[in-house]
Symmetry: C2
Subunit: 150 residues, 2 copies
């Protein structure tokens, strides 16, 4: 079954006919984050999925790692991202490449929401929560260690 | 050679260290369109490429078709898109799924620039310019036929 070309219009709340999906990485800690699946499994011809995440001020995504890479583009607001041993502020239209097996976490820690697109392979491994040993082997920065929420 | 995680910061002109690339579909007609390759071939782990296109007011992309699908998200301004027999206005954060073999063309025809992300498979077929016969078989709308630039 082929899916025809289509337009998903943006509105003030998000996108027409796109429901919020449950954000969940098993066994992880996250706060005030919403997930919207814009172009996904429902389109058989797509080898990659386009999702949008929005984190409320003070919220954060799961601390996680996986083999598949992420292509991320900030659409709204600002915040920061942990990529292994580094934390960087990010804002509108910044592009983040998350390489395989990078420990990463997004934070809306600039008194602002943080909204971003995240493109991933259709067929991908499940995120895993890094163990304390893995965290210690990858992250030496005290600054980052203090910042992570797990 | 693995590419590490990285951030490509947005600035007023575009993105730091991202050069404008030549926009070109062989034998096609296009006007006032710029192409920026944000995440591409230079990252071996990526199965999809993230590009950004920006069309100046009055400009348009090539009228083209191909087997690979497009995932498009409008980042700036507004305009319209032709998808086979239909033309639709598009603006900020609208998402456009362009199915395989859809004749398509973007126009910055709202006295505004039109900037959009376009995600594609890493390995993909080359765009082709539809012949007059193909155009006539897919497009019946006089409105669209008048609008296309080829």
């Amino acid at each position: 079954m082929k899916t025809k070309s289509k337009i998903i219009s943006a509105d003030k709340k998000g996108w027409s006919n796109v429901e919020e999906k449950i954000y969940k990485t098993e066994g992880s800690n996250f706060k005030d984050i919403k997930r919207f699946s814009l172009l996904d499994d429902s389109i058989p011809d797509l080898n990659f999925h386009t999702r949008y995440f929005e984190i409320e001020p003070g919220g954060y995504s799961s601390l996680e790692m996986h083999r598949h890479p992420h292509s991320v583009i900030v659409l709204k607001g600002s915040g920061s991202v942990i990529l292994d041993d580094q934390t960087s502020t990010i804002s509108m239209h910044d592009v983040i490449y998350i390489a395989p097996n990078t420990v990463h976490q997004f934070h809306a820690d600039s008194n602002d929401k943080l909204g971003f697109l995240c493109i991933v392979d259709r067929y991908r491994d499940k995120p895993v929560i890094p163990s304390d040993d893995e965290i210690r082997s990858k992250i030496r920065s005290e600054n980052v260690l203090k910042k992570i929420r797990k």
